[in-house]
């Protein structure tokens, strides 16, 4: 959501807030509709089958996040710079042509809509998977809504991109959580009985975090070794 806030701020500052906020509102309605339509449909599927599919999806999704966070922490991929992204968006928004139809600046509307919808889709995915695996999509949606409000309020207060947010650490934590629940529910869906019942989640989380931290340390050392060896080649 931090990336979406960066886009909306840049568009609002350069093109006016009306069209940018209309784009945000339209994207929020579209996301809420996705959750409202898919949520009840998912709850009709038998819980074991649902956990197998949701476990697989969470695992694939979580491993993507974890992989990116590890590569960034290891120095193999650049960390996302919100200030630089904000400056880039500002420049793009300033130079783009203004097409007004029905009192709406369509560039501002479309950019805000796309930014919020695409970033929000990840949140909607997490809400649907976690909510349906526990049979409480409403509560999961409410929690996600609260997180969105906090990010929006923070953006409103500082009126600039949230560059101080430790985004990679947050991605690492979210990736570890998604992977952990993916392992737990995926295995349960495949028929496994976890030793210790729900308590096994903590052991799986510890394994995922330790393996990820170990891997980060390993690739950092490898990168330092490669850089140190480079001039000798």
């Amino acid at each position: 959501m931090v990336e979406a806030l960066t886009i909306v701020l840049a568009v609002g500052v350069t093109r006016g807030w009306r069209s940018a906020l209309l784009g945000v509102a339209a994207a929020t309605v579209a996301l809420a509709a996705c959750v409202a339509v898919l949520g009840p449909a998912l709850l009709r599927i038998p819980i074991e089958d649902l956990r197998l599919v949701i476990g697989a999806l969470l695992l694939i999704f979580g491993l993507q996040w974890l992989r990116k966070a590890i590569l960034r922490a290891g120095g193999y991929t650049a960390l996302r710079d919100e200030e630089a992204a904000y400056r880039h968006e500002l420049e793009q928004a300033r130079t783009a042509n203004r097409v007004m139809r029905g009192g709406i600046d369509w560039y501002a509307f479309t950019l805000s809509f796309k930014g919020v919808f695409l970033e929000g889709l990840e949140v909607a995915f997490i809400v649907l998977t976690f909510g349906s695996a526990h049979g409480s999509i409403g509560l999961a949606a409410l929690s996600a809504g609260a997180a969105v409000v906090v990010v929006a309020l923070a953006g409103l207060l500082v009126h600039r991109p949230l560059s101080a947010v430790p985004e990679n650490s947050m991605k690492f934590a979210v990736g570890a959580m998604l992977t952990t629940f993916g392992i737990f529910w995926g295995a349960e869906g495949a028929g496994v009985t976890w030793p210790g019942g729900d308590g096994a989640i903590l052991a799986v989380l510890a394994l995922v975090v330790l393996a990820s931290l170990g891997l980060t340390a390993l690739i950092r050392r490898e990168r330092r070794r490669t850089i140190a060896a480079a001039p000798a080649r």
Partner: protein, 68 residues
């Protein structure tokens, strides 16, 4: 046709991401776990071990690619 291709490309990138081998590995590990449990073996250890191996392999491959 272009829109349909774009639609599928979006969902592929959204769900599968940069390394399709991760998704393939996860599906294979779940399938093997499923087969084991159907044969009466409670293979709770299989998926966590497989996930750690998949993550190591994917990150290591990406690092090798980035190293000059």
């Amino acid at each position: 046709m272009r829109h349909i291709a774009g639609f599928f490309r979006f969902w592929y990138e959204f769900i599968i991401g940069d390394d399709w081998r991760v998704a393939a590995g996860v599906v294979a590990a779940l399938a093997v776990t499923f087969v084991f449990t159907r044969r009466g073996i409670d293979a709770w250890w299989l998926l966590p071990s497989a996930v750690v191996l998949i993550l190591f392999a994917s990150v290591w491959r990406a690092c090798r690619r980035e190293t000059p």
